[in-house]
Symmetry: C2
Subunit: 492 residues, 2 copies
């Protein structure tokens, strides 16, 4: 977190004023990494099918949307309020802190019984906690004024934006299934005790893909053959106690009761993490949720988890949820509109498979996994695809034409589509430390030899080794280096 602030990744929002907990702003480097993630996500998941599209929905939505989704009635946290000082705390978190056990999903009456039994007091003033109430976690708003004001809410998940747009989008995109509607956007939850930085925020970014499909087609996927042998990393509920990840080919994972359509998307999600974001595979797993852990409408629900050192172990960073027709049915009932589709004479309400990612959690996870302390430096070993820049261009000194030459190289690399930046201030050692700490894979330096030999040094962030490369070969060599080739000097 110290590095994240010092090097301009993120920090508490509105830092000039008294910030409110649970809000973070992205500084220049963090904003670059976040946009990289979003762009990789978009390219990857929208390419899964010709009929997958991105849309953008308003974050303020009318009350009926959340009547339909169930959020108005059920999106509540159990709250223990102090009679004396008024301090409110999440009852399950409080119990967890004191009794060192998880109490998520427990009924309010059981929580108050536990609080009484163990004589738990207000953590602020030691006053009495006598009731556990519920608080809806949505932010309400009045749109308009006076008698004509309309009740609305900030959406607590981007998913609803896809559901309320499904019928029209299905119509204009020519009535084919599966239809995918992706939204990368903000969501808002009035968390009572936000914690753990980017992991539990009150305003956050989600990247979610809702895949609408014919439920009769769940047992197959046209591309299942391609991933049948792909090794999934799974922690089924039954082997949770052992904590041991089972590595199973997708074809064999059917034994866990999962249909092909679900397994295909499991494989594609895992490939995104291992092949695009390049998570080390032992840091990645799917974890099955069952019973009261999962939302009641999810038929299959596996969390995607990453093992993050700074957070003490496995953390949920995404989820794959088979939501059935729960959402569309709800919206149909509340709106009185037709949500069934008719495809070649067959009428049915489509089912939904949701791929849901918390963008901030993922950005934090990438930072955690990249962070390395070495004896003489701190370095962020970002995979090249998510680094804030491809390369920094440095003149050794700011005179004798070295700066002008470095500028030209900067312009040329930029025209070639590289994400580069130019920096001429401070000693070259400090500039290298800086790109190490922001995780830029390559440093390109123009020195006095460059003026005679028309070459530069290319420095590898990870090995700190340098090779000399002819300027005319630089775009090609840099491209190869970024694509994972070892560094290679000119002429080799």
């Amino acid at each position: 977190m110290e590095l994240a602030k010092r090097r301009g990744f993120f920090w508490q929002a509105a830092p000039l004023h008294n910030p409110i907990a649970g809000f973070y702003d992205y500084a220049p480097m963090g904003s670059l990494v976040k946009r990289r993630f979003e762009s990789l996500w978009r390219n990857y998941f929208l390419s899964l099918d010709d009929n997958f599209y991105e849309i953008e929905a308003s974050v303020i939505m009318p009350e009926n949307v959340f009547k339909a989704s169930g959020h108005l009635a059920s999106f509540v946290d159990p709250i223990a309020k102090c009679k004396k000082c008024g301090h409110a705390e999440r009852a399950d978190h409080l119990l967890e802190d004191v009794l060192k056990e998880s109490f998520e999903g427990l009924a309010a009456s059981d929580m108050i019984a536990l609080i009484k039994k163990h004589g738990i007091k207000c953590q602020k003033c030691k006053g009495p906690l006598e009731e556990v109430g519920v608080l809806n976690m949505m932010f309400p708003l009045d749109v308009g004024t006076g008698k004509e004001a309309k009740k609305a809410y900030l959406t607590p998940e981007t998913a609803q934006g896809a559901y309320v747009n499904f019928a029209l989008a299905f119509d204009v995109m020519r009535r084919k299934l599966p239809l995918g509607l992706a939204i990368i956007g903000k969501a808002f939850r009035n968390e009572i005790s936000p914690r753990q930085g980017l992991i539990r925020m009150r305003e956050f970014t989600q990247a979610e893909l809702q895949i609408f499909f014919d439920p009769d087609a769940i047992t197959s996927h046209p591309k299942f053959k391609d991933i049948e042998g792909y090794q999934l990393r799974l922690l089924p509920a039954k082997s949770r106690d052992s904590g041991k990840v089972a590595v199973l080919p997708a074809g064999q994972a059917k034994e866990l009761g999962l249909p092909e359509f679900y397994l295909y998307h499991m494989a594609m999600v895992q490939k995104f993490y291992l092949e695009v974001l390049r998570l080390p595979e032992q840091r990645f797993r799917f974890r099955e949720l069952v019973g009261e852990e999962k939302a009641f409408y999810n038929k299959y629900h596996w969390d995607i988890e990453a093992n993050l050192d700074t957070l003490g172990g496995w953390k949920e960073i995404a989820g794959l949820h088979y939501r059935t027709d729960h959402d569309l049915q709800g919206h149909g009932q509340v709106s009185g509109q037709k949500v069934a589709v008719n495809i070649e004479g067959k009428e049915f309400v489509p089912h939904v498979l949701e791929i849901s990612m918390g963008v901030d959690r993922n950005v934090y996870g990438l930072l955690d996994l990249a962070y390395s302390e070495e004896p003489e430096r701190v370095v962020l070993k970002f995979p090249r695809a998510v680094a804030p820049f491809d390369a920094g261009i440095f003149p050794l000194v700011r005179k004798d034409g070295l700066d002008a030459k470095a500028r030209v190289i900067f312009d040329v690399l930029k025209q070639h589509g590289f994400r580069v930046f130019y920096d001429e201030s401070g000693s070259i050692g400090r500039r290298y430390r800086r790109i190490d700490e922001i995780g830029v894979p390559a440093g390109i330096t123009v020195d006095y030899d460059s003026m005679q030999q028309e070459d530069v040094t290319l420095r590898d962030r990870d090995s700190m080794q340098q090779v000399r490369i002819k300027i005319e070969q630089l775009p090609a060599k840099l491209r190869a280096f970024l694509q994972g080739a070892a560094m290679e000097a000119s002429g080799k």
Copy 2:
């Protein structure tokens, strides 16, 4: 608007339920165009200087932010409320509707006098309108619960996100000016009578760049020489009655009292519109605001306007605002934090030049300008850079290997970085109509001859002419076509 809905650009938000006025959702085609605009904006404006960066700020901000900015006290609309039915209306809009004159900025007391004088009644029930009050246009929120809840607001402009992050960003980005902080993000205003579709919304997207600079440096810009002769299209306040745009080289425009630093950015904004977005120049102008029309803290304020047929003439789509040190001073006073910078021993509060664009307005403007009705078709003649796709790939029929061949071409073009889509359903004529109506510049068709000759037809959206091109030459020919070259058959 009918086309925008039918072809999947945008529509009223939450279309399944009773939508609330002033909210729009972007459907698949509109989302593509919006992202194109944002990406062009980002590439262009962040390239103006090495020290310009994008950041991302929370949209929920603590109350003090808006005490500091002045929004809490002054961001109000005059409201006339009906005594009988409670209907509320913006008083200035009501006067404008009835008296066919503009009354923006008039004091509330003068408005009520006019309402009485002209005997204006409630537009809904003909009841009496006796008072004009004010309504703050921000959406308030409570964050947290009970006694511990904190007052916050949805930000009415992205600009504040840059101001509250300036001090920290300046520090971590190594204390250089000018420093640019760009935000592409949502802003929210509780408009009483939102109208004109995407032009006045309650939730909208802004792309804003705040340039922090030394006020002593306002009389010069290191690159002014480059644009000295560039012809600016200006409507100064003094010649507003004539409506005649003055076309003046930037160097000469100094006569209007504008300093070089401001003029340089005027030129760069105009170039963005004319050279990147390719607006016809007679559709573009800067319009000077003076006196009460502009915010009191803006020293220079020129709107950027486009002449849009569907809205009956010139409409504001952006603004260039010299906000002085108004914002930073306000944040410094309310927070008690230091906002002055110290550069080489000189201490001062930076001034701000703001380039502000309404993304939705610009997307709407691009649609308006692209819309053409021809005798036998409707076509969106989008400039190639903002079209939702570069090309559609069509097999003439879905059999005899034509579809497989078209698929291969689709994959190859995608690998070459083209934004393409594949469509095999419906007659080829209908598929051409469809890409005409969504504004895709090129249609590529695989027919029976293609199977022998290894070529395809490339159809130009605007001229509807077709030429045959060898498949192996397609990437190069398509690239040239998209960059503005005339269509050229193979071998020519």
